[in-house]
Amino acid sequence: MASIIRMLLSVALVAPNAAIAEGSKSHEQMTAETRAVMERYMAAQNADEYSFKEIVSFYHKDLKAIYYMQDGIRRHESAEDYYNTWNADNITEFRFDLDYTGWSEPLLTIIDGETAAVRYIGHSRTVDGAYYNHYIHLYTVRDGKIVEYHAIMNPHSGAHYARNKQMLLDFGLYKGDK
């Protein structure tokens, strides 16, 4: 019986503890802090009175943001650079209809320590017509600020094999019309 008690004691003493200390904060603490920042950030994104300046205020001044876009990779090394690139006056290349209030369809949020992932569908309008896109954003949150941000954007997804015949021909992969 003594050995059983010892075994039970040892089980209790080494009970699984999900808290993984990283610096002075536990993993759970970091997750809770990241969740709080992301909840405020997402609320600001979806506010009726949307303010891009307020969105950027969530970013650390040395924000590292990387957008993997269909025409290349865009890198930002500061919140100021991010603001100057993406504010409404400077994104005329996308031809968004600025009178139209876009909206998003949240699909999934994952918070894990300093990392947050947000998956959603964005709906908007360009001067050419409706805009619809799938988004995946990955954030790193530290000391209450978003310090890193990765996004992969490929509008007009769902293209099919035959539509891109020329690309497959160029790669020597075209196997005939489907």
Partner: protein, 173 residues
């Protein structure tokens, strides 16, 4: 003799009772934290097989699994079931020099409940040139350890660059 058998039986009973007690004490209830750790282990096992081009990665798929590929190219769209998903990956592999291998580098992981996400970099030799791209994949896990959905996002620009290169090569020959 009967007394000895009876003592032995009661010892055996006590031993079995103790073992049950220990197993009840040790068994973890399925808390959200446990679910997250189970998902983390499955996700890393999945990446291990995917990054080694190990065909047994298909063990994580079944007929219900849906693969969504978000890109602007010929492979964008939805693939349903093990056979279609395997065909997608065969088509991808056909474009690369698999003898020299493709290199995967895991950059970020996030897990919560039965969802997980991986950000990784892939480098290798594409049939049209050097390939270097970033991927973000989202995984939706079922209670049976199979994937109900995979969402595959990758930058499209490297493919456009390679397409331009392939077209130039064709024009010059």
């Amino acid at each position: 003799m009967m007394l000895r058998d009876s003592k032995r039986s009661s010892h055996l009973f006590l031993l079995l009772l103790s073992l049950c007690w220990i197993s009840v004490a040790v068994a973890k209830p399925e808390t959200p934290a446990n679910q997250t750790e189970k998902t983390r282990a499955l996700t890393l096992a999945y990446f291990e097989r995917l990054s080694n081009a190990d065909r047994s990665v298909a063990d994580f798929w079944d007929k219900r699994t849906v693969l969504f590929v978000n890109n602007d190219g010929p492979w964008g769209g939805y693939y349903r079931g093990t056979a279609n998903i395997a065909q997608y990956y065969r088509d991808m592999a056909d474009m690369f020099d698999m003898d020299n291998g493709i290199r995967f580098e895991l950059l970020q992981t996030a897990v919560e409940g039965n969802h997980s996400i991986l950000h990784f970099r892939v480098q290798g030799q594409h049939i049209a040139g050097e390939y270097d791209n970033h991927y973000i994949q989202v995984y939706y896990w079922g209670d049976d350890g199979k994937l109900s959905k995979i969402e595959n996002f990758y930058g499209w620009a490297p493919f456009l660059h390679l397409q331009r290169q392939a077209a130039e090569n064709r024009a010059s020959h």
